[in-house]
């Protein structure tokens, strides 16, 4: 991790009535990091973001921004800016005035504000529309202006609250790249909140997976996807097959388990040591079919087949147990396996994961 810490969250808890939104959450965010808080709705990610901005106060715990305790600072005294989910552009102001708003409140002089507003609008390719009002813009354009407005005061941390969720698919793809580029160019710490795992995996330096008010795992996108810390993370991030297994032995991060297929395999484990029962997670794309089947190999019947264009999903029946597999359609004949066919099914034990159930 980076030597300088932009954000330090320590034992933060928060309840709304009887509902506990956050249970003693702690983590650090490094300077210049693109940090994502990922989780289903109600996991507490938005509450955390609003605490960083100053709109919510934790019941207990502390929050430091660049080493300075901020819990006693109101939102307008924190060097933090937010890109809101619905953008929250001021409808009665032009784009210029929107972007200038924060700078005026910081007491910048006119000439400097003018220059900065021009620069920011140019950076998000909105300079030709400076005199328009938000009502005249499309969703993507509003998004850019909201970004320009939040970045203009050069905040210590930029908070993004599901900023892409209101955009259509194509635009979302483009904005991801743009956001990543903006983050690299500006060198500002981004704290991004989303429930979209693909977004999180694509953009982040590190991801914190939140569930039930707790941090389930923090790590790089690869770590989160390939080495999930528990069943919740494996389930929430990406598709996977879960099997209840019996633990025979755990040695040096590897667990030997008896699978419901009757096979005994040895795969990497997390938190399984000392348990008798565990969950085996196998990602569908790690499952190989037909003559590509290697590693643990079994026979299975194709029960269902969903052609998705770029790839095909197969549902297989292996001695009464269901297994989902997906295969990239590398050629036109990529989906040559027909429903009802019996094929070889295999996966490499190293690509599977034994998790505490």
């Amino acid at each position: 991790m980076n030597e300088a810490k932009a954000v330090e969250v320590r034992s933060v808890s928060k309840s709304f009535g009887t509902y506990q939104a956050l249970r003693s959450v702690s983590f650090d965010i490094g300077a210049n990091e693109f940090f994502t808080m990922l989780g289903p709705s109600g996991c507490g990610k938005t509450t955390l973001l609003r605490m960083l901005a100053g709109f919510e106060t934790p019941d207990s715990g502390s929050i430091r921004l660049h080493g300075r305790e901020v819990l006693d600072l109101p939102p307008h005294r924190r060097r933090v800016n937010t890109v809101f989910q619905n953008y929250a552009l001021f409808p009665h102001m032009t784009l210029e005035q929107n972007v200038a708003f924060g700078l005026e409140n910081l007491g910048w002089d006119r000439a400097r504000i003018r220059a900065r507003v021009g620069e920011m609008l140019e950076r998000v390719h909105m300079e030709t529309m400076a005199r328009r009002r938000p009502g005249q813009l499309s969703g993507g354009q509003r998004q850019r202006v909201a970004l320009a407005r939040a970045l203009a005061p050069d905040p210590e941390v930029l908070l993004l609250d599901e900023p892409l969720s209101a955009l259509d698919l194509k635009l979302r793809q483009a904005m991801r790249d743009e956001l990543r580029k903006l983050q690299r160019d500006s060198g500002i710490t981004f704290v991004f909140v989303t429930h979209d795992q693909e977004e999180a995996l694509d953009m982040s330096d590190r991801i914190a997976v939140l569930g039930a008010g707790e941090v389930q795992q923090i790590g790089s996108p690869t770590e989160i996807y390939e080495e999930p810390a528990n069943r919740f993370v494996a389930d929430f991030v990406g598709e996977t097959n879960f099997f209840d297994v019996e633990v025979l032995e755990t040695v040096a991060g590897q667990a030997t388990v008896r699978t419901p297929f009757g096979l005994v395999i040895t795969a990497p484990e997390t938190g399984v040591a000392g348990r008798r029962r565990a969950t085996l997670s196998v990602r569908p794309e790690k499952v190989n079919l037909g003559d590509q089947a290697q590693g643990v190999t079994m026979q299975g019947q194709v029960v269902n087949k969903n052609y998705m264009g770029g790839y095909t999903h197969y549902t297989l029946d292996i001695g009464g147990i269901e297994l989902r597999a997906s295969r990239r359609n590398a050629s036109r004949e990529g989906d040559a396996i027909a429903a009802g066919e019996t094929v070889n099914v295999g996966f490499a034990p190293l690509s599977a994961r034994v998790l505490a159930s």
């Binding site: 709109f55 939102p75 809101f84 929250a88 409808p91 409140n105």
Partner: protein
């Protein structure tokens, strides 16, 4: 369905004139009739009376005469010379000052009240809005009398203040303060409701965005909340200011009738003064002021239309 109907698309059907072919016209007819009889005709009658001639024993004759309008500004001497008298102008000015003060005070009280109500849960909101409109269920004259009791000699307010050293027997009645109190009380709901409506429509994240962008409370109110709730404030101001100009009951009962407003002046002319043409002339003058005021605000609203 017959065979020919199947083969003829509806557009090719021969055009038959139907009695209801001009639905907008017929549909709106009741409105036109009502507006005509309830609004236009009375205004025309008042306008006509205002240029009629006053009869010797009250009443009037249909002789065209602008004397009533002249009377607003000039006093006709014995020999027919015109002498400028500011007394009616003073009443007009007083009316505007009192109506303006009513509007301003209503605004100052209504904005926090409306803001408070708008921030409540849906159920509480409905109850509070109901409470705001509650006074409308009681006759206005009763409400004014209630205020006369509250402010009058031996009433709750003087007695309460007497316990803090106010000389006994004090009355707050029969002055501009009393008039203003009753007017603010009467018209307050008309200000609260539209202001509430526009504050409720206000997106809370805009206020958060303002704070997020380093605006303190006052800057947020000035640069974000006020501009965005201006339409509600303007309509509230109109709803309070316009009827305040024509207030009769409050200045008569609360002000003691010594200090007149235009409304009570008009009432006096049609009643005890027995000078219908003069009353009508003042009424027309008042209406002209109101129309000018409304055109002015409508014009401003239209110019800012793209904002709201």
């Amino acid at each position: 369905m017959s065979d020919s109907a199947l083969h003829n698309p509806p557009l090719d059907r021969p055009h038959r004139p139907r009695p209801w072919h001009n639905l907008p016209f017929w549909g709106l007819l009741p409105t036109w009739v009502l507006m005509g009889f309830a609004l236009l005709v009375p205004v025309v009658i008042v306008a006509a009376v205002s240029v009629a001639t006053r009869g010797t024993h009250g009443g009037f004759t249909w002789d065209f005469n602008l004397a009533s309008y002249r009377q607003i500004l000039f006093n006709e001497g014995w020999t027919g010379e015109m002498e400028f008298t500011p007394q009616y102008l003073m009443i007009i000015a007083r009316t505007f000052v009192l109506a303006g003060a009513t509007t301003l005070i209503c605004l100052i009280f209504a904005v926090p009240v409306a803001y408070f109500i708008a921030r409540q849960t849906a159920g509480t909101k409905a109850v509070l809005i109901y409470l705001v409109t509650l006074p409308f269920w009681v006759s206005m004259i009763l409400r004014v009398y209630a205020w006369m009791i509250i402010l009058g000699r031996g009433g709750p307010l003087p007695r309460f203040l007497e316990s803090f050293g106010l000389p006994p027997g004090t009355s707050f009645m029969f002055n501009d303060f009393a008039t203003l109190t009753a007017m603010v009380y009467t018209y307050m709901p008309l200000m609260v409701l539209p202001v509430f409506a526009s504050i409720e429509k206000l997106d809370v994240t805009l206020i958060e965005a303002a704070h997020d962008l380093y605006a303190n409370r006052w800057t947020t109110v000035r640069k974000v909340i006020l501009p965005l709730t201006a339409p509600g404030i303007v309509s509230g101001a109109i709803l309070v200011f316009v009827p305040s100009l024509g207030a009769v009951l409050e200045p008569t009962l609360m002000g003691g009738g010594k200090q007149m407003m235009m409304g009570s002046l008009i009432q006096l002319q049609f009643g005890g003064g027995r000078n219908w043409p003069f009353g009508a002339a003042i009424a027309m003058t008042l209406m002209c002021f109101v129309v000018i005021f409304l055109i002015f605000t409508a014009h401003r609203a239209a110019r800012k239309g793209d904002v709201a």
